[in-house]
């Protein structure tokens, strides 16, 4: 608020001027008309006095009210703010100095809160990723290795056994192999190394393939081969949103089909996950949806979840592929929820 910008007169001056104006008019009327007041005043005098005073007060109310109107609009705009729309800033109404300053102070506060929120989400997401990585590592190195050892030993026994025993050992070996594959699957889900090594497109198609195989649900996967290169955090968020959306579909929606598309619109990358399940009707907007929203916010992406055209739900994520520095500063209050990704 060091900046005393091109704001107009202050509210105090305005109210003062308005009052002075009204008083001067009333005083002038009093001086210029032949009206006099006797003591004690008679009825007609009292009536004139009452009308005059009422008119003065109403005039004052009207003019002062107009002066304060921008303040009410500002309050309304502030009330419209919702924390999930991080880009929203209150527009400046009017040019009274206090209102301009108040708006600016409010927007500055939003900036600070947004910055702190973003930092804390970043820290907690990084901690979450580290923890996932540690669990994946342990699953892989300890349980995975033990199962591998078991598998090799069963294999050894099987080779020296005969007849029925051999068949039983083969079954045992198969069961052990399935368990090993499950453990490796869990470890892989926790730590998407595929993302580092193969990139977002390949990682998401591998995800669709794996989840499709596991669940028996047909998961269509349409990946644009010409995607712009996203920052590593943006890739991770996009991958995690696809993973979470598909997991929700498989667990809760009772869907028979799901479709994932990853395409680009100029510099933006669009992820769409649609299914034909029960949709959002009775689902509570649980931690899954909140988690996707938080992750999207973190990278300044737009996240939406809508009912599908006929049934089911559609999750959409629009990620800005430009680096932070190349983006315009959004500072209007006209658009509340951003462009719905199409």
């Amino acid at each position: 608020m060091t900046q005393r910008t091109r704001s107009g007169t202050s509210l105090r001056t305005r109210v003062f001027l308005v009052n002075a104006f009204v008083f001067v008019i009333a005083g002038t009327l009093l001086a210029l008309t032949p009206a006099t007041i006797s003591v004690p005043s008679d009825l007609s005098e009292t009536l004139v006095l009452a009308v005059g005073l009422t008119a003065t007060v109403l005039l004052n109310l009207l003019v002062v009210g107009r002066t304060f109107a921008p303040l009410s609009r500002l309050i309304e705009a502030m009330e419209r703010f919702e924390p999930l729309n991080a880009d929203y800033r209150v527009p400046v109404y009017g040019n009274e100095r206090e209102i301009v300053q108040l708006t600016k102070a409010f927007n500055d506060m939003l900036d600070r809160i947004e910055r702190e929120r973003r930092e804390s989400v970043q820290r907690s997401l990084a901690a979450q990723e580290r923890e996932r990585q540690r669990v994946a590592q342990e699953l892989h190195d300890e349980i995975g290795q033990s199962l591998t050892a078991l598998l090799l030993q069963i294999e050894g026994l099987e080779r020296s056994a005969a007849g029925e025993e051999r068949e039983e050992l083969a079954e045992l070996r198969q069961a052990t192999r399935d368990t090993l594959n499950q453990v490796r699957g869990v470890a892989q889900r926790l730590r998407p190394e595929v993302l580092d090594d193969l990139g977002l497109g390949k990682a998401i198609s591998a995800l669709c393939e794996r989840l499709g195989e596991q669940s028996g649900i047909a998961i269509g996967c349409d990946i644009d081969p010409e995607l712009p290169q996203l920052a590593p955090e943006a890739e991770l968020v996009t991958y995690r949103v696809a993973q979470e959306a598909l997991t929700n579909t498989l667990r809760h929606s009772g869907a028979q089909r799901a479709a994932v598309t990853l395409e680009h619109d100029g510099e933006d990358v669009l992820l769409t996950v649609a299914d034909d399940g029960r949709g959002l009707g009775d689902a509570d907007p649980g931690a899954g949806i909140q988690g996707m929203r938080e992750r999207a916010l973190l990278i300044g992406a737009r996240f939406r979840i809508d009912p599908g055209e006929e049934s089911g739900a559609v999750v959409r994520l629009r990620v800005d592929g430009r680096p932070w520095t190349a983006r315009p500063v959004v500072n209007t209050g006209t658009e509340m929820t951003g462009t719905p990704p199409r």
């Binding site: 190195d141 050894g156 090993l180």
Partner: protein, 194 residues
Amino acid sequence: MIRLLVVDDHAAVRAGLFGLLRREPGLVPLAACGSVGEALREARSLEPQVALIDFQLPDGDGLTLCRELKLLPKPPRVVIYSAFARPALAVAATLAGADGLVDKGVEVDDLFDAIRAVGRGEQALPPLEPEMITRCTARLAPDDVSVFGMLMSGTSIADTASVLSTNAQQIEDRLRGMLSDLLADSPRSQSAPS
């Protein structure tokens, strides 16, 4: 007959593998070791034809061991046998000069086939997708990219050194640096993005 050295840090895996290999005709496991140090000692004295090496070892990793083994007077051929599922491991193993890479999830007969192929002088490395090589290249220091390209296309360390008019030791050092760059953890989980 293929003489083998088995290297794995997990005792039960080592034992199971050793037992299976001993039963398999044509394959002769000579010793089973649990660390890089032990493996190098055994390889020097036993001179195996093929070393079957796990990726994760207590005192280093399988690819570093692969490099050390390749510098021996009679270098064994190397098969990396790993549960480490990262796709980039295929690129790193190729760069490290391994002759084969087998996932611990495959059937044992496939492992034996790979060992026999490598023993015959063939390679048992998975195909490398161009996209994967591109992503891996992005993880390297810009100076290293030309060395990476030459080594990946099969140029020997000595030839690479003479083309870049430097010595083999320097190329070897850069190769090892690249191996750790290729398999480094993603920066994502290391620090908060800015």
